[in-house]
């Protein structure tokens, strides 16, 4: 059994209104030393598979077919055995 942890963010070139608003809020709370806040999605999926490679391949496929819209989103992920 494997667990995939997937981070989905808006593409760099795409406006991230949530990120911008959270950044402002953090600054208003006194955190002046922060910046470049991005807000995205985080997914965990438990996958059964024979090896890391097979699972990774499947995760990529799931991301492209359903979990993200490549038009505006990028993703990264890690797979670990559980």
């Amino acid at each position: 059994m494997w667990k995939a942890k997937i981070q989905v963010t808006l593409k760099k070139s795409v406006l991230d209104p949530q990120g911008a608003t959270v950044e402002k809020a953090l600054k208003a709370l006194g955190y002046d030393n922060i910046g470049d806040v991005r807000v995205g999605k985080y997914l965990e999926v438990v996958v059964e598979g024979k090896d890391n490679e097979e699972v990774e391949e499947q995760v990529v496929e799931m991301c492209q077919r359903l979990l993200t819209n490549p038009v505006i989103e990028d993703y990264t992920f890690e797979v670990t055995e559980v």
Binding site: V14, L15, P17, V71
Partner: protein, 738 residues
Amino acid sequence: MKPEIWHQLGVKDQEFEMIVNILGREPNYVELSMYSVMWSEHCSYKNSKNTLKLFPTENERILLGPGENAGIVDIGDGLAVVFKVESHNHPSAIEPYQGAATGVGGIIRDIFTMGARPVALLNSLRFGPLEDAKIRWLFGGVVSGIAGYGNCIGIPTVGGEVYFDGSYSGNPLVNVMCVGIMDQEKISLGQAKGTGNSVILVGARTGRDGIHGVTFASEELGEESEEKRPAVQVGDPFMEKLLIEACLELIDMGVIVGIQDLGGAGLTCATSEMASRAGTGMEIDISLVPRREEGMLPFEVMISESQERMLLVVEKESEELVKKVFDRWELSATVIGRVTDDKMVRVKEKGEVVAEMPAKSLADEAPVYCPEMKTPSYIEEVCRLTHSKIPEPADPEEVFLKIITSPNIASKEWVYRQYDHMVRTCTVVLPGSDAAVLRIRGTKRGIAVTIDGNGRYAYLDPYLGGITAVAEAARNLVCTGAEPLAVTDCLNFGNPEKPEIFWQFYKAVEGMSKACQEFNTPVVGGNVSFYNETAKGAIFPTPVVGMVGLLEDLDQRCTIDYKEEGDHILLAGQGEPTAGGSEYLSIIHDLLEGCPPEIDLEQEIKFQNFILEAIRAGLVSSAHDLSQGGLAVALAEGCFKNSLGVQVKLSAERDIRWDILLFGEVQSRAVLSIKPDKYIEIMELADKKGVPLKQIGEVKGKDFNLEVTGPEMRKAINLPLEEIIEKWRGAIECMMEL
């Protein structure tokens, strides 16, 4: 400059030549980019301009017709209503949520730009069949995108329509309409008046998004569309909510000289249009434009379509006040240039001129084309529908249930329960009736709003389809007790460079114009969306009509639902139901043929006058026009809200078939319910108005009971209301859970 360069930007050879003539030299890349977006179909209407001249645009109520960001209509008490519809079809096809959301954002900006408070949103949607998972993803995404933006910004989405048909499979339609109310004295225009005045860019920072978005909207969807993906943007309804408040506050203070939203073609469009309308020029320095991304090139800044931005022109002394107000709303306002008197748009970067051209040439002097027209070959074939081609079904109940659960007829509650349709507490007739009604605070008045179109009719007969789109919208208003005032339209068609498509377009506009003339409802604004095609072909020609009506007295409003057991049910109007182009023909017989229902405009006007007068005189308890699904569906729809059954008996006079009588479609007809003691009075009124009216049944019990008898024939639908309601209400939800 090499031809590849202008070809790549979608500029034709003769257009490039025109540009050279205007400038007296070759344009540089920045200038070429600016011309390419302003002269695209989306911004310049170069293929449709001539045809749109057919529309009537004036009457005594119209304060402002097409030309500005939205039209304005007088509604009395010193108030005016402002409205417009816009399409966001192409972006929605590849990113349904954000595509639809930014469409909503764009049309709202068009309304508050005029100085109006946006008070309502409507939407008209078209998708392929819901059996397809990709379509469900599109439909679900579009609806939640509209909800996401409209709900957040706090403008109720009070009405709309959704149709599903295979012709929209690869190319959904997302048309959004916004309605605003304003004080007539507060009209503000998109004009850069006053040499020396300051030009201020407010709202969001500028990024690379939507670069060449307008060119994208002016092309067919194909494989390469995927490559142009960054053309889709993410909307920020929160920012726009703040923009509305800040802009309306400034307009209220009277400090705004000119104001325009940044939509398609971004800064290029706003600067050139504002200068051109005022007969002035504008000079800006783009190094002052707040950016979201580093390293943006001048042409990118000039054509970026970043959302939630506005351009203001104010007197120099007002700069500080503007900044103060925007600061209060936590928004940025940056002076980027000034109004000049040389009629040029001059773009500088750190003082150095990077583009310079006559404002008028960008905004108003795009080439105008008169595309060729040719009657498509299918037109003759589809007319040949005869009844022998339509086998008579055996079981009326089965047919009825199939039709009532067809996604085109089924309840759209799955859609509108996701929309906040109550915020602002002015919606007094909620979604689910023929039109929504909004009260106008501080007056006795109300407005009714609707959006309608029938692509199938327009496909079979674009001229008639154009007429009936207007007639149906007007009928929907009249059935709520409102007098139709004016129209905004969204014309969704295929590639106009194909003669058959342009013929559809021309005929539809001709039909709409004729109807608008007859109803005295001028067109005050609208939108054309061409190139709605995929490799599989064009969509149905789909003219969509948004209409606003006025109720002088809100207490006289009327809804479609029966009110009380014992009330009489009457059928008003005349006209022969037909199977042509009907939902019945499509759902039960899988045929797309025939002539759509004929309309006699003179009769239609008499009919609408009668309905309106009867409602105003308080004779009518409920009113609902016959549209898709015919008489049986119209009768049933009155039962749903209050769970009141009916008992209706029809006699098939002449030799009309029962299936056509019940499910065929027709114009100029409505189902009314009345208190029994109003019978004589309403009959007399109908007689006086020359409108046929007869009693066909009464509100009774908990069943839907509809019987047709004729020479040697008796057919009946007799079903518990509860069953019908459950199926009708759950149909779309069921499909979405597949």
